[in-house]
């Protein structure tokens, strides 16, 4: 866990509201695992005050990449950054997905909704390197929300694409596609990242078929490294629901540990 206040930006791609920034951060890069995240400073001064959590989207040699959707002021400021400028990043943070060697040769699903696809690209490459057969299930609201679909296709990933309005891929939710694909041939493992309702549905589908699943949760973060207790969500610890820090004990949790029901909390 390191701070690199001056990671040099070496690449930028943008598709509408989605932006990919690549930057050199050799030490962080050496430690990074898929599912981990960075805390990124969006301005120098006191406003916006807090860093923004962003999943590690890719690692290539000594460079890392973040892929994000412009969601508000912080990400809008980040989107203005250009190659040659620097980025102040802290990381790698959190626990990451279980890239287990025993997945070699097995089929695994990576289910991403919207900007939730960000950490799954890094994950997919690591799983592929391990020898797993990765199927990407990538959903968005419209064709503008699945900007990475072409890349996954070009890089020969098996991909099921969905959009809510049918403007690209199959029409409907990505969870419907998951249900269908898992029905055809159950994977050894499901990894997912996306909005809460999607993750809840993924957990339900996985549980119904007894497929182990890992979900990457989101939460407002103060620090990202366990100091403020600001980022808690309801997660079962030894079977008992507790307010657990997403940044330290997550962001990735076994699907069955996450408590979705607000009343059962």
């Amino acid at each position: 866990m390191l701070k690199n206040p001056e990671a040099k930006i070496v690449g930028r791609e943008a598709w509408g509201d989605y932006v990919l920034l690549r930057f050199e951060a050799p030490t962080i890069s050496a430690l990074a695992r898929p599912g981990q995240f960075l805390m990124v400073r969006v301005a120098d001064g006191p406003y916006p005050l807090l860093r923004r959590p962003l999943g590690i989207h890719l690692r290539k040699d000594k460079a890392l990449g973040v892929f994000f959707k412009i969601a508000g002021e912080g990400t809008a400021l980040l989107a203005r950054k250009r190659p040659g400028e620097t980025l102040d990043v802290l990381g790698p943070l959190g626990n990451g997905f279980s890239v287990d060697p025993c997945l070699a040769g097995k089929a695994v699903f990576a289910v991403g909704g919207g900007r939730g696809i960000a950490p799954l690209y890094f994950l997919a490459w690591e799983l592929r390197a391990l020898g797993a057969a990765v199927k990407i299930l990538y959903g968005g609201r419209t064709k503008d929300d699945v900007p990475l679909a072409a890349r996954f296709r070009d890089e020969a990933f098996d991909q099921v694409l969905t959009t809510d309005d049918g403007s690209a891929g199959r029409e409907g939710f990505v969870t419907a596609a998951l249900e269908e694909e898992a029905g055809k041939a159950a994977p050894a493992m499901i990894f997912a990242c996306g909005p809460d309702p999607m993750l809840e549905a993924v957990g339900r589908i996985a549980a119904a078929r007894d497929i182990p699943a890992e979900l990457s949760l989101e939460s407002r973060m103060g620090c990202g490294f366990g100091a403020c207790w600001g980022c808690v969500q309801r997660v079962r610890v030894d079977g008992k629901p507790a307010w657990v820090k997403i940044c330290e004990d997550g962001p990735v949790f076994p699907a069955e540990a996450v408590v979705w029901d607000k009343d059962a909390r």
């Binding site: 400073r41 006191p46 406003y47 807090l50 939460s219 407002r220 103060g222 207790w229 969500q233």
Partner: protein, 303 residues
């Protein structure tokens, strides 16, 4: 080389930069980022006697140059602290201060009595000013009597120096500070957070699970500096300044206003090495101004 040390009377700090409670975890979380021994000291997260669940999320809202938190003092309690954390802090050559919480006078006393049995604590900081616990944000530090009562009981029961942490949500922080001094506190720290609220206008719900929370960060600094100045000019015991410090210049404002030490809070969350930046700023200032002992500038504002 400048002498950065400051004397609180009951405790000499190698430098005036402390990390503030609740923004520095139990200290250990920051070891990857800085050498804890570089700090004057740090105040660990508030401790009740037993473990505490804290408030439902969302617990944080960012505001212009500020942060509202409603953590609700989730924590592990004194026993787990003494068993799991304190042994790892004890050997550090820096002041470890414990932020003491209580739902009642008795609980403050129980916490202090328990901790009195442990080694490796430099002082207690009485958190009588957390706005996240009672429904309407009220706290003992709203009243001179309630403040004095807790200070008195804790001083009677405990063996260590006591820093009383005051609330800024009052008409006269001087009055409360004087009450704490009268009751025997060894120092006061101010300010805790400002009672605040934010509403998500789309859903018309409060943005915090707890409805109310405490505002911290650079936004509040000018109010905190004012309060420190008012209190320092009226108190005999030392004042520790807290509120929105990010840089050496920010810390200097408090010192010049009359604080003998400062605490860095929210800035730690943004930059885990923020305390070192503050320290470097102080060193640089002393060098530029030819100041041999930093303590000389305390309270020197020319009004």
């Amino acid at each position: 080389m400048t002498d950065l040390s400051v004397d609180l009377g009951f405790l000499r700090l190698k430098n005036p930069v402390l990390a503030a409670s609740g923004t520095f975890g139990y200290g250990l979380e920051f070891e990857p980022f800085l050498e804890l021994e570089r700090l004057g000291g740090f105040v660990v997260k508030g401790l009740y006697y037993g473990p505490r669940e804290g408030n439902p999320p969302p617990r944080l809202v960012e505001t212009p140059s500020g942060l509202i938190n409603a953590i609700g003092l989730q924590g592990i309690g004194v026993a787990a602290f003494a068993e799991k954390i304190l042994p790892r802090l004890r050997s550090l050559k820096t002041a470890v201060i414990v932020n003491v919480c209580g739902a009642s006078e008795e609980e403050y006393v129980r916490v202090v009595e328990f901790l009195d049995g442990c080694e490796g604590i430099a002082a207690y900081e009485l958190n009588i000013s957390c706005p996240n616990v009672q429904k309407d944000g009220a706290c003992p530090a709203f009243s001179p009597e309630a403040t004095a009562a807790i200070v008195r009981e804790v001083k009677r029961a405990g063996r260590r120096p006591v820093i009383t942490k005051l609330s800024p949500n009052v008409t006269s922080v001087v009055e409360i500070a004087l009450a704490a001094q009268e009751a025997g506190t060894d120092a006061v720290a101010l300010v805790n957070t400002f009672l605040a609220m934010a509403i998500d206008v789309e859903t018309r719900r409060p943005k915090l699970g707890n409805v109310l929370g405490g505002l911290s960060g650079p936004a509040i600094r000018p109010i905190a500096v004012r309060m420190v100045w008012q209190v320092a000019s009226r108190l005999k015991v030392p004042v520790i300044g807290v509120g929105g410090i990010r840089t050496g210049t920010d810390a200097l404002e408090f010192l010049i206003a009359g604080a003998r030490a400062v605490q860095v809070g929210t800035a730690n969350l943004v930059d885990p090495d923020a305390c070192l930046r503050v320290l470097a700023g102080l060193e640089d200032y002393c060098r530029r101004h030819g100041i041999g002992r930093l303590e000389e500038i305390v309270g020197t504002v020319k009004t």
